[in-house]
């Protein structure tokens, strides 16, 4: 193999590696559903348990119901005092992880 061939191969290898990491970079690591859910607990209660007049419980909630609520808040489709601001801090994957976590709590 000539030097230029070897260089071309090396270049191809580097490009492929770079492309692979770039694809991986599109999906950065997210926190677990529990870790994300803990950020909700300061208002919605530990493990999402707080059924009262002003603060809805999240424990055992229908998964789709929570996903839809968060997306609606984020897009300002649903009026709220605080939640529409908070929902803007979570992407789709994080919202789904949160919904998985709370929907499984009994």
């Amino acid at each position: 193999m000539s030097l230029s061939q070897r260089l071309a191969r090396l270049f191809a290898l580097i490009t492929a590696t770079f492309a692979a990491s770039a694809i991986a970079g599109k999906e950065p690591a997210i926190a677990t559903g529990k870790m994300l859910g803990d950020t909700c607990a300061s208002c919605h209660g530990t493990r999402g348990k707080s059924f009262d007049e002003y603060m809805p419980s999240l424990a055992g909630i229908d998964r789709q119901q929570l996903v839809r609520a968060m997306r609606d808040y984020r897009a300002d489709r649903r009026a709220s005092v605080v939640m529409n601001r908070i929902a803007k801090g979570y992407d789709d994957r994080e919202i789904e992880a949160i919904a998985d976590y709370f929907s499984r709590i009994r």
Binding site: F51, D52, E53, Y54, P56, S57, D62, Q65, R78, A79
Partner: protein
């Protein structure tokens, strides 16, 4: 209609007074309406403007808890669409007069919110909710439980003194004639359960003459749950407009 009146009369005769007396023995009894006074004020319930009501629904953040289109997106709070105007008006007045508890505490959110409203605006909101179809069947409704609840709702249980719910709330949960018998079709089951338990425990006192408190008394938790899912299942079948 005849059936409804009968059930109500019977209830009032049998235990209405007793239930109220029993409740006021509690340390923190809530004030209740004088029926003449209530009737007077409810004459305005059917004069509302639904367009103005829709504006208020958003402007006053009612939509934050009761849903953009009045279909509650949460388990904590009731759906309001398809509700009859005098029931909505009475409920708003109950809150404004400090007569309500929510979730076993003195209601704060609704008590304070209703003090932002005058009676014209209450009637406007009532007209808006009444102008909308019944709530869509909530996603968490369980068909099996609904089936169980259906029999009790239609037939009651004479041996245990449980009247048929449909007598007052309509064959399809579409509501009855008195201002304190709401439409129940499509109602959020968790909210329904909470309301019934509060009636059973004498913590909700917005029923005239203590009628619901009396009917709820013999019900078991399982029966209440079955009824909740039955009435939830009677909601509109179409997807909510989003």
């Amino acid at each position: 209609m005849k059936k409804t009146c009968l059930a109500l009369t019977l209830a009032t005769l049998l235990c209405g007074g007793a239930a109220v007396a029993g409740n006021s023995a509690r340390t923190n009894a809530m004030p209740e309406w004088d029926s003449d006074q209530l009737e007077q004020i409810l004459t305005r319930a059917n004069t509302g403007n639904p367009v103005e009501g829709e504006r208020l629904h958003h402007y006053l953040y009612c939509s934050a808890c009761h849903g953009h289109d009045g279909n509650s997106p949460s388990r904590n709070w009731p759906s309001l669409t398809g509700q009859k105007p005098d029931y909505v008006m009475k409920t708003l007045l109950d809150y404004r007069q400090d007569m309500r508890r929510d979730h076993y505490r003195k209601a704060e959110v609704m008590t304070r919110m209703t003090r932002l409203l005058d009676e014209t605006q209450m009637a406007d909101l009532a007209a808006y909710y009444a102008s909308r179809p019944a709530p869509v069947v909530p996603p968490q409704t369980k068909p099996l439980l609904a089936k169980k609840g259906a029999r009790l709702a239609r037939d009651g249980d004479g041996k245990r003194g449980i009247a048929a719910c449909s007598g007052c709330h309509g064959e399809h949960g579409e509501s009855g004639i008195t201002p304190d018998t709401p439409a129940l079709a499509g109602q959020t089951p968790e909210y329904f359960i909470l309301a019934m338990k509060m009636y059973r425990d004498g913590m909700r006192t917005s029923d005239l003459g203590g009628v619901m408190r009396m009917f709820a008394k013999p019900l078991t938790d399982a029966e209440i749950e079955a009824l909740a899912h039955y009435y939830a299942s009677l909601g509109s079948k179409r997807e909510a407009m989003r």
